[in-house]
Each structure stands twice: as C-alpha cells, then as structure tokens.
C-alpha cells in the first residue's frame, strides 16, 4: 500500500502544470528574445534569482548554438518548448533543423570549438551543464539537433 501511494505521488509530481512553445527565426537578436521570454514564463514558478539566471543563460547558449552552428548564420527556425512539472522540475528543449552534430561527445567537451578566430570559447555546453541538472543532446547530421535541459527548482518560497 505504501509503495502504491509513493508511486501515485511520484506520478503526480511528473504532471505538466504549464507549457510554453516558441518558434523563432535563427537571428542573433533573438538570443535575447528567447531567454527573456523563457525567463518571463519561468517567473510564475517563483524561482530564485540564481535559478532564473541559470536557466536564462542555458537558453542563451542553446539558441546561440542554433544561430551560429546549426544554421551557420543562414537563418532557419528554432523551436523552444518549456515544461513546468508539479514537482518543480523544468524541462527546456531547443530544437533546430540545421546541419546536425557529427560527434556530440566531442562537441560537448569544454573548450571544443570549430571557430578559428579565437572569439568563441567553446564553453556553451559546459555552461549548460554547469547551470542545470542534466543536459541531453540528440543530433543527426543534415537533420538537426535537439538539446534538452532539466533543472529542478528549489521549493517555492525557499531561499
């Protein structure tokens, strides 16, 4: 009986209480639009200042990857989905139909960059990992990439 109650409770926690879908053209000015919009959506969950800043940074990194790498500055569509669950877990996915990543493991290595100008740090995925609980990357060359980031917010009202 105890086990079935725990299962039911866990199931309730997974319930999606709100969801946002956003489609933006892959323009660099939309990096700020994306993180600002996601930040506004997340504000209703009463995150800490730190948690909100973490997730805005994560969105900025993922969207920048779409603009710079997936579409190579040629434009395309970026699809952002944000789900808030009853247990205060936030799931953000950022998807593109760009060039895809041939070697995801290599791309996620800190300091790895294909840029030769010395102006890119190669720290985008490392920042996403540092500022969230989990990062999942699915990619197919020539088809696109989906980055999903999970972060559990602290209980509402706690500092």
């Amino acid at each position: 009986m105890k086990n079935s109650k725990q299962t039911a409770s866990a199931g309730e926690g997974r319930r999606v209480v709100n969801e946002m879908r956003l489609r933006l053209p892959a323009l660099s000015q939309n990096e700020g639009v994306a993180r600002g919009t996601v930040g506004a959506f997340l504000a209703q969950l009463d995150p800490t200042v730190e948690e909100l800043a973490d997730l805005k940074c994560v969105v900025s990194e993922a969207v920048t990857n779409c603009v710079v790498h997936a579409y190579g500055g040629r434009g395309g569509a970026i699809y952002i989905t944000v789900r808030a669950r009853a247990d205060r877990e936030v799931e953000i996915s950022v998807r593109d139909h760009g060039c895809g990543i041939a070697n995801v493991r290599q791309a996620m290595q800190p300091m790895f960059t294909t840029d030769k100008s010395g102006e890119r740090s190669g720290m985008g995925f490392a920042v996403m990992q540092a500022f969230s609980d989990r990062v999942r990357v699915l990619s197919a060359v020539g088809k696109g990439t989906k980055v999903t980031v999970i972060k559990r917010l602290s209980p509402a009202g706690e500092l």
Partner: protein, 108 residues
Amino acid sequence: MFGSSRITVTLDGGTLTISPRGEIDHHSARSLRDRIDNEMYLNRPAILILDLSGVDFMDSSGLGLLLGRYQRASEIGCDLKLAGCSARTKKILELSGADKLFDFLAKA
C-alpha cells in the same frame, strides 16, 4: 532591449577603462568587440581595464569576447585587467580556467 550593450570609455594616462553596460551575448559581443578593439588600437594603453560592473547578463559568448581581448591586448603589450565582475561572471570564467589569465580589480 534584449542583447544590447553600451560602453563608456575613459583614458587616464596610460590606462584605458572601457565599461560596457547591459547584456553580453553572441549578438551584442560582435559590436562590443569592434568598439573595444578600436579604442585599444587607437590609444595603445599600457593597461586596459574592462569594467564589467554594469553588465547584467553574460554567457559563454562574453567569455569568448574576454579571451579574444586578452589575446589582442597581449599582442600589443597591453595588460588587461577585469573590474567589477559579478559572482556569475567569475563562475563562467572559472569553468574554463580563464580566471587564471586575468587580474581582477574590485573597482575600475
């Protein structure tokens, strides 16, 4: 406005202080990079201080901007220092180990 930044520039003897304000992301980093480089090459200071106290958002594109300026400043024998870094900016620098490259000042 999202992803925008403005700068103020002060030259005091051999010290050039550049203070960006606003958000540093991939979008704003491009124009910021050009403005900082223009001022640096024009004035050829012994010390360049980037005062980040007015920066309220920075991601890894900002880190790329700082690393790039470190490289350019080194090439002309200019000593680059960072002032007014927030805890968050420092965290991003520390993730990459770039914090070891810079001298940090509490204030510009």
